[in-house]
Symmetry: C2
Subunit: 248 residues, 2 copies
DNA sequence: TAACCATCTTGATCTGTATCAATGCCGCTC
DNA sequence: GAGCGGCATTGATACAGATCAAGATGGTTA
């Protein structure tokens, strides 16, 4: 799995990714230290629903390891993934009492949580935290809007390439690797999860993955281990002009 | 046009919509009063680009009258609207120096603006403002994610119904009207703009509008003036289960 | 080693939406 | 009131991706 570094991120924040810091007791000012006593960890197994849309959501937190996803479902069962939570991503709705979407563990997941009420109280007293949360939310909004272009206007092949480049870039920057040249990573999603994220069927995903492989854009080892010989080719396939886009 | 109330909203904030208050000098605490001297108005003609993606964005503000849209464009010209700015909506990227998308005036638009640097400075000193901005941004994020379901999984007919119900509900609440029963409003978008928002072609939009008319879901007077005899039927067509969704 | 199950691949066919192409409508100008 | 230009409608056809349907693969259990 991607970044299976268990609890170390949360406990030693010298390597703590920026988004995680907002809710991690060891990273911040003295103010934040006080949150130590309301911090706790939660584990979820792959497939488990962390929280259902509409349910009371009394915590905020961030993903320590594993992958979770935000999904919306229609009455007839059609589902759309609206966000991917990779390690260090924040989840929570300060100022809101219920979840707006289902949060589902896509792999086994460990989350670092804080009870929401004390967190919000601290947020009000510490402008610093509110500011950071605003920045994070703006970033997510940008990412969501970028994804709207993918969903609304890109072809199936471009959609797949877009997803792969997001995961590759995200993985690469967590590993402090370079973005140019070859990149190797594990894609921790089933074909069905990919389809839900991209607004496609799993058969179309499978076909397009095969096509990208045949065309030499990617190499597959097993179902999930992917090598991109040349990231610029993948970005080209994704139809990204300037690149530089953010991601959930 | 929708809510053609010119400058009165900004100058007398007793009726000032909640989102506008965040940047309106007369609505807030003494702190905000100080911003008075950096407040100004800008007018844009229909079709005019307020700001290009990637350009320096040195103001924040909100729409006083008219409609603007946030759009993303691919190299080959495919475009996707990623947000609709209706009167009272906020635009700006605190903490960021460049625009992330094109902002285009869809009708004639008046915006109430503040220079960004002083606004940000004030935001840091006044947690209240940062909090409000965070809430607004979280709402927009919810709306964007709701729209991802529309783009990724809904049929053309459902997409049209979703757009109409958003504009109808938004218009109705601004006018303090009830949501049940019949609703009448002007849809201030060309068929092409609708298509850009929905990830469709303008021909498909036109066909589905005709179909909804034939089926009695809507009544058209001219091209733009729309009556919905029964909102619940429209919401049904949109595939919304619980409704209650927010909107940009 | 075999049987099993979840996941993935591939093929054949269908269908919703795009594409290409006329035609219609309406306000504006001269 | 004729002509023009921007928008909208409608029709005919093409095609990308969905749907339906077999298999294939690979890991796990017995």
């Amino acid at each position: 799995m991607l970044n299976q570094n268990s609890l170390s991120v949360a406990q030693d924040c010298s390597e703590c990714p920026i988004r995680h810091r907002a809710v991690c007791a060891r990273c911040e000012t003295d103010e934040l230290e006080r949150l130590e006593d309301i911090k706790y960890y939660r584990r979820f197994e792959a497939g488990q629903t962390v929280i259902w849309s509409g349910d009371k959501m009394d915590f905020v937190g961030s993903v320590v390891s594993g992958i979770a996803s935000l999904t919306q479902t229609m009455e007839d069962g059609r589902t759309q993934m609206v966000g991917l939570l990779l390690p260090s991503d924040f989840v929570g709705r300060p100022g809101r009492n219920t979840a707006a979407y289902d949060v589902v563990a896509t792999t086994d997941v460990v989350m670092c949580c804080f009870r929401k009420a004390p967190f919000e109280e601290l947020m009000e007293k510490t402008p610093h935290i509110a500011q950071r949360l605003l920045q994070m939310t703006l970033d997510e909004l940008d990412a969501a809007r970028e994804w709207m272009l993918v969903l609304g206007r890109k072809t199936a092949r471009e959609k797949i390439a877009s997803l792969l480049s997001i995961v590759a870039r995200r993985d690469a920057s967590l590993n402090m690797a370079r973005l140019s040249g070859a990149v190797t990573f594990d894609l921790p999603l089933t074909r069905e999860a990919m389809a839900d994220y991209l607004g496609l069927t799993l058969e179309t995903v499978s076909r397009q993955m095969s096509a990208l492989r045949k065309d030499g854009v990617i190499t597959l080892e097993g179902k999930r281990h992917i090598t991109v010989p040349d990231m610029s080719v993948l970005l080209e396939e994704a139809g990204d002009d300037t690149d530089g886009g953010l991601l959930v």
